[in-house]
Every structure is written in structure tokens, then in C-alpha cells.
Symmetry: C2
Subunit: 102 residues, 2 copies
């Protein structure tokens, strides 16, 4: 699997707009064949901070995601909502193993 | 859901020992009724850094986890393997909603 965690810090007044745009993006992304999970979590102690947990079958699936219309819409919609540029960490899965992602 | 991400930085020589102890802990934890997921990921660009993605049904399930024998074994096993104290961030789920965690 090819796993990307994207850390987003939004403006306080943009929390709901960010959630809405990201849920729309997640629902479309989950229909991509190379996407195993596309979770969105909000920090309990700072609701302006979010993490997207993107689990792709492989690196090419991550590249394909960036070519979709829903990704482009999300990227443009959230750009003015952020307090600072988003950051990312790449991960490999130890648990579950590749066959455990459904 | 009550979601905890635990960030662990291990000594370079302790990577395999940490993975082994953590996979053992994950397999037991997944049998707890209040645990929905218990993933272990390793950073692609720094294999000494890991994140545990612990998804509990509620806060009391997280407390119950800390009372198990497998948690105590894991805590004691990984203590000497770490470069620095582990840190954690609490999250709430936006996507999937509560009913989407199986």
C-alpha cells in the first residue's frame, strides 16, 4: 500500500467549509479503484487541525487521484481556507498487511 | 469514535523488535470489543518513526485497553526501544461516520 497522511490547518471560520469540501472529495475518492481508505479526522483539542488518511493500492493510484476532477475541485476549494500550507508524511503499512485492506 | 494516534520514534537497532512487539499487541487489541481498528504504519522516509492508529468505539474502550495484559506487555517491551517519549493526538472522525467503522 502507499499511504499518505495530509495535515491541514484551517482558519477558524473555515472549519465547516473545509469539512464539507473534504467529505465531498472523500466520497468521490472512495470510488477510485486504487483507493482503499480515505478517512478525515479532526483534532479533538484543536478543531482547526485535520488529517486526511489516504490509503492507495500503490503509488500510481496516488498519482491517478491527483488527475481527477474531484481532487482539483477540493484543492481549489480548500486553498483559501487554510492558515498555512498543508504538509504530508508518507507511510508504509505494517498492520494490516496488504491483504487486510478490503 | 474515540481515536488516538500515537507517534513513536525508536532506536535504529530496535526497528524490528518494535514492529514485532507492536504487531503482537495489535492482534490482541483487535479482539477487544471496543476496538474498531488498530493500525501500525512506518514512515517511508524515516523507518525509525511509526504511528499507531487506534480507533475505539468510545473513551471507556480506550481506558479498558490500558488495563489489558497485552497492553502492559507492549508498554514494557517498547520502553527501552524508544529514542524519546512517545506523543499522542486525539481525533474525532468526520469520515467515516460512526456507523462506517464495521
Amino acid at each position: 500500500m502507499y499511504i499518505v497522511h495530509v495535515f491541514v490547518h484551517v482558519k477558524p471560520e473555515a472549519i465547516e467549509a473545509f469539512k464539507s469540501a473534504s467529505q465531498e472529495n472523500a466520497s468521490h475518492s472512495l470510488r477510485e479503484p486504487g483507493v482503499a481508505r480515505f478517512d478525515l479526522l479532526q483534532e479533538s483539542e484543536d478543531p482547526t487541525r485535520f488529517v486526511l488518511l489516504e490509503v492507495y493500492r500503490d503509488k500510481s493510484a496516488a498519482a491517478s487521484h491527483k488527475e481527477t476532477a474531484h481532487y482539483a475541485r477540493w484543492r481549489d476549494a480548500v486553498e483559501p481556507l487554510m492558515q498555512e500550507p498543508r504538509s504530508r508524511i508518507l507511510y508504509q503499512n505494517i498492520q494490516p498487511a496488504d491483504e487486510g485492506w478490503g
